[in-house]
C-alpha cells in the first residue's frame, strides 16, 4: 500500500480541465428512464477534480460495464460527445488510483467493525478483499523505465 501511495504521488497527472467528480460513478448509483440517466445517487465522495477519475472508477473490473461496452469504445464515444480527449496515461493513473481507493474503503469498513463502530458482519472481513485490488494495481503498473 505504501508503494502504491508513493507511485501515485510521484505520477499525479495535471488535469486538462477541472469539473465536478462524482467519486462513486458506477452502475447502481444512477437511475435511468429509457436511454437517459435522470438521477445520480450517493454523492458523499463528490469533489472537484479531473473527470477522467469518474470514467476510471466506472470501469473497475468489479462492476464495470466492459462486458457490454469496452473501455476503449466508451472513451471514443465520450471524446466524440464531450469534445475532450482522454489521455491514456491519465486514465491509467486513475484506474490505479481506483484500486487503492477501493482498498482504503475496504480497510475503513474492516476498521469500523474492529473498533465496534458497526456490528455489520459484511464489513468484518472486508480487508481480505484488498489483496486482489493491489494485485490489479501491480498488474497495471507500467514497467520500470517506461514512465515508472
Amino acid at each position: 500500500m505504501v508503494a502504491a501511495f508513493i507511485w501515485l504521488k510521484e505520477h499525479r497527472p495535471i488535469a486538462r480541465r477541472i469539473s465536478i467528480v462524482h467519486g462513486d460513478f458506477r452502475f447502481g448509483n444512477f437511475l435511468y428512464e429509457g436511454d437517459r440517466i435522470n438521477a445520480m445517487l450517493d454523492w458523499e465522495m463528490v469533489h472537484l477534480g479531473d473527470p477522467v477519475e469518474d470514467i476510471a472508477w466506472a470501469y473497475r473490473s468489479l462492476w464495470g460495464p466492459q462486458a457490454f461496452l469496452s473501455l476503449d469504445e466508451f472513451v471514443t464515444r465520450y471524446t466524440e460527445l464531450s469534445g475532450t480527449p482522454v489521455d491514456s496515461e491519465t486514465l491509467r493513473f486513475y484506474r490505479l488510483l481506483g484500486e487503492v481507493k477501493h482498498s482504503i474503503i475496504s480497510l475503513t469498513g474492516a476498521r469500523s467493525f474492529m473498533d465496534r463502530r458497526t456490528r455489520n458482519l459484511f464489513l468484518a472481513d472486508r480487508a481480505s478483499t484488498i489483496t486482489s485490488y493491489l494485485k490489479q494495481f501491480m498488474d497495471w503498473l507500467p514497467e520500470q523505465g517506461t514512465g515508472d
Binding site: V2, E10, L134, K135, G145
Partner: protein, 182 residues
Amino acid sequence: MTKPSIGDLLNGVAASLRESVLPEIPTGPTRRQIQAAISIIRRVSLVWDKTGPYLYADNKDIEEILLQVSAILDRAEANGSGAGLEPLRQRLHAALDQRGATGVEYPSPAVLGARNVELQGLLVDVQGALHAPTNPEATDRPESAERLLSAERIEILAMLRALFRRMLERELQVTAPPTARK
C-alpha cells in the same frame, strides 16, 4: 488423521450453520448477519491451516530481499553515495541479525505474524528512505550524494516491486479460492 484440523472443524461448523440453522431464520437483518458469519467462517476454514507456512515463506522472501538491499546500502556507504541512509542501514542490520532467533524451533503463526509485521515495517522504511526528498539546504556536498545513486536506487526499487508481486501472489494463493482468481 486422528482428529480434524482447525480448518476442517471450522469448515464443518460453516456447513452445519448453512444447512441446519440458516433455513430456520426468516429473511431480514438477522439472516444477513448469519449469512455473513457463515461466509467468514468458511473463508477462515480455508486459510487457517495454511497460515503458518504462508507466513514462513513470506518472511523468508522479505528477509532475502532486505539482505540484498542491505548489501547494496553497504556498497553505497563504502563508495560514499549512501549519505543519509546510515540509520536505515543500521536498522536493517539489527533486524536481519535476528533471523531465526525466535527462541523456539517451530515458531507459532503468531510469532511468524509478528515478524512479518516487523519486516513489512522495514520495507516501509526502505521505501521512505529511497523516496525522501533531497535536502536543498545542504551545501557541503553535491546533490547526488544526498540521495542514493540512481542506479542503486533503481536496482532496489526493481527488487521491491518484484517482491511485492510475489507477496500479493502468495497471499492470493492462500486466501482466494481458485475460481475467484484470474
